[in-house]
């Protein structure tokens, strides 16, 4: 049986998803995804010609709240959960490469 997904594809998807997986995990993940995707091929046989996709099952218009000022989350409360904070902001690793 041919592979639905290769180890290289799994590696690429893991990079896109920002998940560090060991070689062993990548291999196991490949097997899992292969099985799931293989089983899902039945769906491709469903005739959906001319059928519109459903993104939300219940029709709704864009909701707007009343235009009144309400209290938001206080800065101190928002920062309390951060791994690191500094000078009233989230402290994050350097984003730009190089010096």
């Amino acid at each position: 049986m041919s592979e639905r997904i290769s180890l290289d594809e799994v590696r690429k998807v893991a990079k896109l998803a920002r998940l560090s997986l060991s070689e062993e995990e990548l291999e196991r993940m490949r097997g899992d995804l292969d099985g799931i995707l293989d089983w899902m091929t039945a769906l491709s046989k469903l005739d959906t010609n001319g059928v519109e996709p459903t993104f939300h099952a219940v029709e709704m218009a864009a909701a707007l709240r009343d235009d009144v000022v309400v209290d938001g989350l206080r800065r101190s409360e928002a920062l309390r959960a951060a791994a690191r904070s500094d000078q009233g902001g989230f402290a994050v690793p350097k984003v730009k490469e190089g010096e």
Binding site: A17, I36, L43
Partner: protein, 495 residues
């Protein structure tokens, strides 16, 4: 003894508080004592908020003493799934990636429950980020089914179900994306409602799959389920998908409870009983159909031809949405951060804190959304969803509610389905079609098989929960299934 506070229904407890027979503090203490003595064996709670519960209860007692009007859940303990934000206490989604996170605000459902006088006793165990059907993906501990501790309680809201089935709270809230309140309700012998998509605000519910997620309650009888459903439903400007036009549904479900069901049309999906169902489940469902017929319901056969594709469609749509929603867990603004040499490595190693099933779904979701595969998987799944909705529309031309089992089996053993993810996904075969179509569905106990509860699922048109409560209540009045309890339920609790 049968009078013990932990065995009482929510509406009975509220009555006692209103009449001054029992204080809310006494009720809260009884619930906390029961949790204390039983939860070591069950594992339903990730966090018990004794102090907060007693303070809320004291507030109810003060309000009563001051002659203030009491809410519909005054003094009633309730347990909250750990993906719901309760200000000042942890919300981990049973994941290591949110370990230690304290919710800085109340979910809308929590605000509404507090306003109704309910007393929040703690946060319940769940499948990690609600991804699972047995509660076994929790990063912290297993939940044991109170009916048989070697079996799974169902999932993903397994802790919420087990807490109510074990007598640790009369009510709990869970969330249902593809069956996560209905299936555990079936496994634990409870009543649970998955409301219409848009009925209950999801503000303060940590998102899994946003086009499917709904919050739903567990209770030990239909009346309690109706009362708490009324409390948590209604329009909320803080959730853009909250489509209700009314602020409150007070009375709209409970007034259906005494009505008869003569002439109501019940659509039976025969195919749901044909294959893959345990014989004991089929038998209980057949008897339930007879009961409804004897109550004057008209039984008609309906078909849902596209339902066979529901599992595939769901396990494309839900992982796709989860891969997007869970992108926010990167260790920057909340949760632990695994600092590494580069930013990318920091992200990767932090996100490796996700458990196996969550990683699998993020990978699957990222894959089906990636260039070259979008049309074959995601777009095709969304079109299947349209066809499933059309199936229901056709069925509802012939009937008022659609009847299927809630799950194809009774509670399975812990560890029985953990090796093959596909096998676990098939546990949701009957709960997924209503979810994909956004429809309300209720699970009610309909008998025992091998001494374990079987659940009956009724599905109605969008925003027609009232009919579900009407049928469920008539069924409950005609049977004694809802009176069966797990063996640990009545024994040895706090009096």
């Amino acid at each position: 003894m049968s009078d013990a506070l932990h065995t009482q229904s929510a509406h009975a407890l509220r009555e006692r508080v209103a009449k001054g027979e029992t204080s809310a503090v006494e009720i809260a203490r009884a619930a906390l004592d029961t949790i204390h003595t039983r939860d070591a064996a069950v594992g339903a709670f990730l966090h018990v908020d004794g102090e907060g519960a007693l303070a809320q209860a004291a507030q109810v007692d003060r309000a009563r003493a001051a002659g203030e009007a009491l809410g519909p859940l005054a003094g009633v303990p309730i347990a909250m799934k750990d993906n719901l934000c309760v200000r000042g206490i942890p919300a981990t989604c049973a994941s290591k990636i949110l370990e230690g996170w304290i919710a800085p605000y109340d979910a809308t459902v929590v605000e509404r429950l507090r306003a109704a006088g309910a007393v929040i006793v703690g946060k319940t165990n769940m499948d990690e980020f609600a991804m699972g059907s047995s509660n076994e993906t929790s990063a912290y501990k297993l939940v044991h089914n109170p009916w048989d501790l070697s079996r799974a309680p169902g999932g993903s809201s397994g802790g919420s179900a087990a807490s109510v089935a074990a007598g640790m709270a009369p009510l709990s809230l869970g969330s249902d994306t593809g069956g996560s309140v209905r299936q555990p309700a079936a496994f634990c012998g409870l009543v649970a409602l998955k409301p219409t998509y848009g009925r209950v605000s999801r503000y303060g519910l940590i998102a899994f799959a946003s086009s499917l997620d709904q919050i739903g309650p567990f209770a030990r009888d239909v009346r309690d389920c109706a009362i708490v459903s009324e409390v948590i439903s209604g329009r909320d400007p803080r959730d853009a998908t909250s489509v209700d036009t009314v602020e409150t549904l007070a009375g709209t479900y409970t007034r259906e409870l005494e009505r008869d069901v003569k002439g109501l049309r019940v659509g039976v999906v025969r195919a749901s009983l044909a294959e893959g169902c345990e014989p004991g489940v089929v038998l209980a469902i057949e008897r339930s159909i007879d009961t409804l017929r004897s109550l004057g319901c008209e039984i008609v056969d309906v078909t849902l031809p596209t339902a066979e594709h529901a599992v595939s469609a769901y396990y494309i749509v839900a992982p796709a949405e989860c891969s997007s929603n869970l992108a926010r867990f990167d260790g920057m603004r909340f949760g632990p951060r695994v600092e590494s040499a580069s930013l990318e490595e920091t992200y990767g190693k932090t996100r490796a804190l996700f458990g196996k099933e969550v990683r699998r779904r993020i990978m699957l979701g990222t894959y089906v959304l990636s260039a070259g595969y979008y049309d074959a998987f995601y777009a095709q799944a969304q079109k299947a969803r349209t066809l499933i909705s059309r199936d229901y529309a056709a069925a509802f031309e012939r009937c008022d509610v659609v009847l299927t089992p809630t799950a194809p089996s009774v509670a399975f053993g812990l560890g029985a389905k953990t090796k093959n993810p596909l096998e676990m996904y098939l546990a949701d075969i009957f709960t997924l079609p209503p979810s994909l179509a956004g429809l309300p569905a209720i699970s009610v106990p309909c008998g025992l098989s091998e001494g374990l509860p079987v659940g009956l699922q009724l599905t109605a048109k969008a925003f027609d929960e009232a009919t579900l409560f009407r049928v469920a209540s008539a069924f409950e009045r005609a049977t004694d299934h809802h009176t069966h309890r797990a063996s640990m339920f009545a024994a040895g609790g706090a009096a």
